[in-house]
């Protein structure tokens, strides 16, 4: 494997084990079961995608890994060490960087200040060095020339890429992406998809990517977990054996189309259930 040899990180980190995880919101009152007995084994350096209908509990699962809230039962391990369990919530940390659904670049900081935020607050390198590194990373990622712009001055596609660059700056074990390209038009999406694939090929970080978009899931992921409607359970796991590096031509390959068809059938059933459940709630 060529990409593996070119790795700057010697031993891949970021192996995640999710074991029988359940999460109940408001256990004293409404008892909303959001995640029900989920198990996943994510290898170090794997690009794992979770697909499911809106409101099924994907964000809930991701937030547990990120450390934004606890879980009700089960356990999550990172590189063999216990991360979350009932009564144990890890503090959010830079080993598990989150790229948020609606974007979270600090509007009051320039692109460069955003990208250097992680290393500067962690005190791992002096500010000067962080700035040089950030410039280097941004230009590697094809984002030069916008360092001193504020997030409001660049396009939404750029903002997402800068946010991914900001995450990569802290050299995390895992990159957690929560529907990062949700509100984007199709053209911008193709650009950011390619960008993320390049970042992945270059770094081989473990990626935990959430989406409700099947095509995106198959195009990006090595393994696709299809979730049921709430409570989130794993319905199907799909191995996407399309070789990397991938580009837009994958989208018209026979293998991709076949995988997509399998997926659509699995998901359609769930979507129908979700729709019916919704109708019941309305009634």
């Amino acid at each position: 494997m060529n990409t593996a040899e070119a790795l700057s990180v010697p031993a891949p980190r970021g192996q995640i084990s999710i074991r029988n995880v359940s999460k109940v919101y408001d256990p004293e009152g409404a008892r909303v079961l959001a995640v029900d007995n989920c198990s996943m084994e994510i290898a170090a350096g794997e690009f794992c995608v979770v697909v499911g209908p809106s409101g099924c509990g994907k964000t809930t699962l991701l937030n547990a890994i990120a450390g934004f809230h606890g879980i009700t039962s089960g356990e999550i391990l990172l590189d063999g060490k216990l991360l979350c369990g009932p009564g144990k919530t890890p503090p959010p940390g830079s080993d598990r960087i989150v790229v948020f659904q609606n974007g979270a670049l600090f509007p009051w900081y320039s692109v460069l200040e955003n990208v250097t935020f992680g290393p500067v607050v962690q005190g791992v390198m002096p500010e000067r060095e962080a700035r040089d590194r950030a410039r280097e990373l941004l230009s590697q990622m094809g984002l030069e020339g916008i360092e001193s712009n504020y997030p409001s001055e660049i396009s939404s596609g750029m903002r997402r890429r800068v946010e991914i660059a900001r995450a990569m700056m802290t050299d995390p074990s895992v990159l957690l992406l929560d529907e990062p390209f949700r509100a984007m038009d199709a053209l911008t999406k193709t650009v950011v998809h390619q960008f993320l694939l390049d970042v992945y090929d270059r770094s081989n970080k473990t990626i935990f990517f959430i989406t409700h978009d099947l095509e995106e899931a198959i195009f990006l992921g090595s393994k696709v977990y299809i979730m049921t409607t709430r409570p989130a359970r794993i319905k199907t796991v799909l191995d996407v054996d399309i070789p990397r590096p991938r580009d837009f031509r994958v989208l018209s390959s026979a293998k991709y189309i076949k995988l997509k068809k399998e997926c659509i059938e699995a998901v359609h059933e769930e979507a129908l259930k979700a729709f019916k459940a919704g109708e019941r709630e309305m009634a």
């Binding site: 959010p92 009051w108 409001s152």
Partner: protein, 291 residues
Amino acid sequence: MSTASAATATRNDAGPSSLEVSLFCLREWLKSAAPYLNLLGIVGFIFLWYLLTEKLKVPWFNKLPGPVGVYGEWVSPDPSYGISLYTPEYYQHIVTSIWRVLQAFFLATFLGVPVGLMMGWKKTFKDYTFPLLETLRPIPMLAWVPLSILMWPGREASIIFLTFLGSFFATVLNTLLGVESIDEVYFRAAHSLGAKPRHVFLKVILPGALPFIFTGLQISMGFAWFSLVAGEMLAGEYGLGYLIWNSFIMVQYPVIVIAMVTLGVIGWLSSALIRLVGNRLMQWKVREEIR
């Protein structure tokens, strides 16, 4: 050196400087109808005032000084009531008032902003202080006058205290609102990137609350002048508020208007100054708005 040239290249690609942004805004403003309409409004008002008082001499208004009379007094080297642009007393009143407002305003800012930030940051601190704030805040400044005179040894201190109070509540409340307006996602992002509490405070809470803080400072400056005049009217020996009240008692009506207009202009300038400092500190906000 290639790195050096790369650095300059990126600097050239950078967005416009803050001066360029300000000039751009000014040019756009001059190109619009707004400045001419503003001027027309003021001129129209003065003309109406002239008509009512000096030209038509409408009975209701016949005790009021007209614009021509006021202006004549204002620019007279030898004013009949002793106050004009040429008399040192005029400036003494102005300087006294400005100095009182400055002391009170800065005290209110340096106490009010940290208190507001703390209230937004630490839930327990808010639980202690918020009901107190909400009870004290609606009390009109005039109601504080007697206590303030009783509490402080001299007039000066009690006037500054009154002015401070008006400022302080507005600053605290707006700072608190500013912190609460910050989207939860920025806190999560900061924590996720490894920020410790002090970073969250300095790099998320403070800059995130800054737009509200500056809105609050403008309001607080307005309250400061309001309370100052109230205080000076009741307890002053100098100052524009005192001048207004004293001129009323001494039947020197044009001086009242001179002092009022002076207050208006200084009040407007002080709030423009705060806006200017705010825009300087919050380039990101300015650029968001001209977009």
